[in-house]
């Protein structure tokens, strides 16, 4: 389906107001033309009376002038209010719609998109789509209608003039804007594309400023930005020059139409086909005829940009989520045993397999550590359990296949701390409440204590109101990690999956964290994913070793420790 039709379908709910705005705009511009024409006629008639002609009824034209004046100003005002309110409503809706479409795509189907790019689409591109109605179709429709009105009125007074005016109107109102958009389509799209690139580059430079500084790469970065800006401004310069040329030609057409009106009018008067007031009317009509065409070059120069924005937005919205919720989710079973049989999984459709026939059992209440080399597939398992990536093979939760359960139901049972948990640019409190919006401060303080953050919290002057910063920049790596653990504890799920919880923590804190987690999770299942074996005996009873995507050994933690010591001795 073409993008314009899709856009109009998304705008359906505002159709009433959009049509009203069109009607009002048409009324206002027709009134403007009427005002000019009647004034010219009126003045000439009055002058003829002054020169000795018979008296005329001057009430009717004077009343018409007043009426047209009111219609023009009032109509313009009402049209603007109505049109803008409609498009802004559409805008808000489109943005919400796109965000809703993004939710099921993250992270698997958005792998190659950076945050700044998505921001660009969500904000700037949607803003650009707004212009499609108010900036493009509305003025075009109004221009077409009022051109027709002008031609009909002109034909009533002089067929020849109407005939000559028509090509002028077509040239200025159709050919000029069309040429303009066709010759600058690439530039218009490039201006927005470069803006997206600029946003992404800035976001990069803000997060990686330390690296740029330390590597002496700031000059190179600035040079790239300068080049990107220069390229964008060059495209803008070309577009603006084209637009200025089109606007100048439009102004010239309007003047030529006036000259033609004078020429034809004078000729017609010589041949007695036209009277004095008629000539004045034609001249004024010629001048007014081009006014509705004035916004067209600018409007059409944006067509390519609107089209590109629509395509970017629809491309994103049309992506299929890689994990689909079942149409009719099976009711959540009571039991929470997890069984994985011959499970295969990969992150991209044709990528390397991260899990290769993995078998694992996590019966309710088991505390199991999953250890293995980096890249062995540990984190992939956590992502699979969070229903963020699809898998092959069988995974059951309480005896029911994982993919037959609603994803959110699964997430209520499995609380997962990712390897790189995201912290939001909000307070500590709001970051925690993401997991439990209704949790009171006492609950929050309790989970923070379990995550060994109570001491840290005591030292903060603003306590729970402390601002965490985007992705937790105001916290140390270890603090951010523990905050994410506290957040997961708020879910109060029977199964807790922790991906590298000890990252950035010293041995003392790790030991204390494992000890308090052991108490907190008594009776619940725990899957501890780690490459650091230090202190895990405090939290887990069993250890499973993962190698190249499958479990190669599983022992009690004591047995595992003995074996590791043996192998170390052998190696030494």
């Amino acid at each position: 389906m073409n993008w314009q039709r899709r856009l109009f379908e998304l705008m359906q709910p505002q159709r009433g107001r959009m049509l009203a705005a069109l009607g009002l705009s048409l009324l206002a511009s027709t009134a403007g033309i009427g005002l000019m024409a009647v004034s010219g006629h009126f003045i000439a008639s009055m002058a003829l009376v002054g020169a000795g002609a018979a008296a005329i009824n001057y009430y009717t034209p004077a009343a018409l002038v007043r009426l047209f004046a009111i219609l023009r100003t009032g109509g313009r005002y009402a049209e603007r209010l109505c049109g803008h309110d409609a498009t802004l409503s559409i805008l808000a809706r489109l943005r919400g719609w796109l965000f809703g479409r993004l939710i099921p795509l993250a992270p698997a189907a958005l792998a190659e998109q950076r945050g700044a790019q998505l921001l660009s689409r969500l904000r700037a591109d949607i803003d650009t789509l707004e212009q499609s109605y108010l900036g493009l179709w509305l003025p075009s429709a109004v221009a077409a209608c009022s051109a027709l009105v002008v031609l009909v009125v002109a034909a009533c007074w002089s067929g020849w003039f109407a005939l000559l005016l028509m090509p002028l109107l077509l040239f200025a109102g159709a050919w000029l804007p069309w040429r303009l958009q066709a010759s600058h389509a690439d530039d218009a799209a490039q201006i927005d594309r470069d803006a997206e690139a600029l946003r992404a580059a800035w976001a990069d430079a803000l997060a990686g400023r330390a690296e740029l500084t330390m590597w002496g790469a700031e000059d190179a970065f600035d040079a790239r930005m300068e080049q990107l800006t220069a390229q964008r401004e060059a495209a803008r310069a070309r577009t603006q020059r084209g637009l200025a040329r089109a606007d100048a030609m439009l102004a010239a057409c309007s003047g030529i139409a006036l000259s033609v009106a004078l020429l034809i009018g004078v000729l017609a008067m010589q041949q007695r086909h036209l009277d004095g007031p008629g000539l004045a009317l034609l001249a004024m009509l010629a001048m007014a005829a081009f006014e509705p065409l004035l916004p067209l070059p600018l409007a059409w120069s944006r067509l390519a940009a609107i089209k590109a924005a629509a395509q970017r937005v629809f491309e994103l919205a049309d992506r299929a989520p890689v994990v689909l919720d079942p149409a009719t989710p099976v009711a959540m079973p009571q039991a929470t045993d997890l069984h994985l049989r011959e499970v295969w999984m990969r992150h991209a459709q044709h990528g390397e397999w991260a899990l290769r026939g993995l078998n694992l059992d996590l019966t309710a209440g088991t505390h199991l550590a999953l250890v293995g080399a980096s890249g062995a597939g540990k984190s992939s398992l956590a992502q699979l359990l969070g229903r963020l990536y699809p898998y092959q093979g069988s995974v059951t939760l309480g005896g029911t296949a994982l993919d037959q359960l609603g994803a959110d139901d699964v997430r209520a049972r499995l609380a997962i701390v990712e390897q790189a948990p995201y912290l939001f640019d909000a307070s500590l409190r709001d970051n925690l409440r993401i997991a439990a919006p209704d949790a009171d401060d006492a609950t929050l303080l309790r989970v923070l204590a379990v995550a060994q953050l109570d001491e840290f919290l005591r030292e903060l002057p603003n306590g729970l109101d402390t601002w965490v910063g985007a992705n937790g920049v105001n916290l140390s790596g270890g603090e951010a990690r523990r905050l994410a653990i506290a957040r997961a504890l708020l879910v109060d799920a029977p199964v807790l999956v922790l991906d590298e919880p000890s990252e950035g923590l010293d041995a003392l804190t790790t030991a204390a964290l494992y000890k308090s987690l052991a108490v907190e999770t008594r009776g619940r299942s725990v899957l501890l994913i780690t490459h650091r074996l230090g202190g895990i005996a405090a939290l887990v009873d069993e250890v499973a070793v993962i190698e190249q995507g499958r479990i190669v050994a599983r022992r009690t933690v004591e047995g595992f420790a003995a074996q590791t010591t043996d192998s170390l001795r052998d190696a030494g």
């Binding site: 023009r72 921001l119 590597w215 004045a280 919006p437 002057p461 010293d506």
Partner: protein
């Protein structure tokens, strides 16, 4: 408060016009010249109409006048084009200048400022904010001058031929600017509010999309969706508030303009009827009356552009006026580029934002070509110490000396060129694996890239990727595992080939086997270089390793592992905890 901020932003906007004065003056001249042409055209048209209607002149008499109209109209179009070319060029030039000074400024503000900002908000200010400036220079400034010039020219022209109409116009004219200013006040407030909302919206969206996976895992995505919808609705309301005022002021102005034209028309009409006025003069006044109001009406639109620019400029002035944390030495002393310098810290005190004092009197020496390991509990100040050595954390007191030269007086870029830094949280830049490596050393060849990949045990991982080194990396390295990312950072560090190595936990995220393998490579790489590193895994340290134990911003113990391994030391406690694991 708000008005002084407006004032500062407006002053700043005016200052930016300085370099484009000439362009703006030219644009204004072209605009003024057009108004003379408009008067001439109106005179010719009224002449033709009067001659044709009242003197019954034919085409033979009027053809030159009509041709004159055509010529003037074409000339006017050319001038219009020139005017636009000049004003558009001014807008673009200012945009590029501002972008340049913002880049310069962000460099000066440094990494500590950048990371403390909301990326979404800052990006909105830096790209979309700067984009709103051009219309101020291309539209508002020339139009503001023309709004005074053109009506004067038109008034004089009308006044010469039809003084009564000129009087009507003159009486009506002052009402417009008064209304413009009254409406402008309210609109400026609303405009600032709208722009703030837009910035917050940017920050919110960026944050939400960056943490979308986390939101999903905690079943919070739908709640965020509702908030996005609500934020969009709020933006609509704020925008409508701005527009309502703008439209209302436009309505008032249009109304006044239309009324004035109508008064002129009726007056001219009745004076024509009574024979007190010639048709040509009357027609001339009537044709020019709308031209008199046109530039004033255009100001309504342009004031909107100005408000947007002022609101956006506030966000930019904030950046440009933010205090620079570490002023560079006035005349930096070139640091001698030693093969491997020695590093001395004396009584170093430093503070970091909300965390207060992070370094409290650090005395430390790293002899040239040797290695010192910092250990201690998290939050002890280890990373801050590295930041101080890199010149990223300004000292409150004390000295850092490189081969006897004070860092405070040193040419920082030259000093930094000698450092290879491995950060605790390496940033993955937008681009391919290769781009990310080359950022550290743009002139690196394939051979050295292959070498560092081997050193970081990354060669096998890269070999397995279908696109190899050209594999694009997603945000925060999506596509690579945590350990692989860490190894990428190590490879990047090795590519620097510098004489001073600063490592913040080089083998974090790595399993024991890979870590041991890489440690070995790093040991080899470190030979002959001065190394200051942070380590968590205390038990892996060899007995001859020199360590400093950092607790609460001070060094509590220092010596070789063998020396410190006696009972009762803080080091022994760390070691015991690590071993018990």
């Amino acid at each position: 408060m708000a008005s002084t901020e407006h004032g500062a932003a407006a002053d700043w906007l005016r200052q930016q016009a300085q370099p484009v004065r000439r362009l703006l003056r030219n644009a204004i001249s072209y605009g003024a010249a057009q108004s003379l042409l408009v008067c001439a055209i109106a005179w010719l048209v009224s002449h033709v109409l009067a001659q044709a209607i009242f003197a019954h002149a034919g085409l033979a008499d009027l053809r030159w006048s009509i041709l004159g109209v055509v010529a003037l109209v074409l000339l006017r179009a050319v001038l219009l084009y020139r005017q636009r070319a000049c004003s558009d060029a001014a807008g673009r030039a200012v945009t590029q200048n501002v972008q340049r000074s913002l880049r310069e400024r962000l460099r000066q503000l440094g990494p500590r400022w950048s990371t403390g900002q909301s990326a979404g908000d800052l990006v909105t200010r830096l790209v979309d904010g700067v984009d709103t400036l051009a219309p101020y220079y291309a539209g508002y400034l020339p139009q503001a001058a023309l709004a005074g010039l053109i009506p004067t020219v038109v008034l004089l022209a009308v006044g010469l031929r039809e003084p009564w109409s000129a009087l009507v116009l003159l009486l009506c004219a002052p009402l417009l600017p008064v209304f413009l200013i009254l409406a402008g006040r309210a609109a400026a407030e609303a405009s600032t509010r709208r722009w703030l909302r837009l910035r917050r919206l940017g920050a919110r969206f960026m944050d939400a999309v960056s943490g979308l996976s986390t939101l999903r895992l905690y079943r919070a995505a739908e709640r965020e969706h509702e908030r996005v919808l609500a934020a969009g609705e709020g933006y609509r309301k704020d925008t409508m508030a701005v527009l309502r005022v703008a439209f209302l002021s436009a309505l008032v102005m249009e109304f006044f303009a239309t009324c004035s034209i109508a008064i002129v028309a009726v007056m001219v009409g009745f004076r024509l009827m009574s024979g007190h006025l010639g048709f040509a003069e009357g027609m001339f006044a009537l044709l020019l009356a709308p031209e008199f109001f046109l530039p004033l009406r255009a100001m309504g639109t342009q004031r909107h552009a100005r408000m947007e620019a002022v609101a956006a400029a506030e966000g930019l002035v904030d950046i440009l006026a933010a205090p620079v944390a570490a002023p560079l030495a006035a005349t930096p002393v070139a640091t001698p580029k030693a093969a491997a310098p020695n590093l001395v810290l004396r009584g170093v005190h430093a503070s970091q934002g909300d965390s207060g004092e992070v370094l409290r009197g650090i005395d430390l020496t790293v002899p040239a070509g040797s290695r010192l390991t910092l250990v201690g509990p998290s939050g002890g100040g280890k990373s801050s110490l590295l930041a101080a050595v890199m010149g990223l954390l300004p000292l409150e007191s004390g000295d850092i000396e490189i081969d006897g030269h004070a860092l405070q007086a040193a040419d920082l870029p030259v000093w930094r060129a000698q450092i290879a830094w491995l950060p605790q949280r390496p940033h993955v830049f937008n681009g391919s694996l290769r781009d990310n490596l080359l950022l550290a050393r743009p002139d690196a060849d394939e051979v050295s890239i292959a070498r560092v990949l081997r050193m970081a045990s990354l060669d096998h991982v890269v070999a397995k990727l279908p696109q190899g080194l050209d594999t694009p990396l997603g945000e925060r390295g999506l596509g690579l595992s945590g350990g692989e990312l860490q190894r990428l950072a190590i490879a990047r560090m090795c590519l620097r080939d510098a004489s001073v190595l600063l490592w913040d936990e080089p083998t974090q995220h790595l399993d024991a086997a890979t870590a041991a393998q890489i440690e070995q490579q790093l040991d080899q790489f470190a030979r002959g270089r001065t190394v200051l590193r942070v380590a968590h895994r205390v038990r892996d340290l060899g007995p001859q390793e020199v360590v400093a134990v950092l607790v609460g911003g001070t060094i509590v113990e220092q010596g070789t592992v063998a020396q410190l391994r006696r009972p009762g030391t803080a080091f022994a406690a760390l070691l015991q905890e690590d071993l018990r694991a």
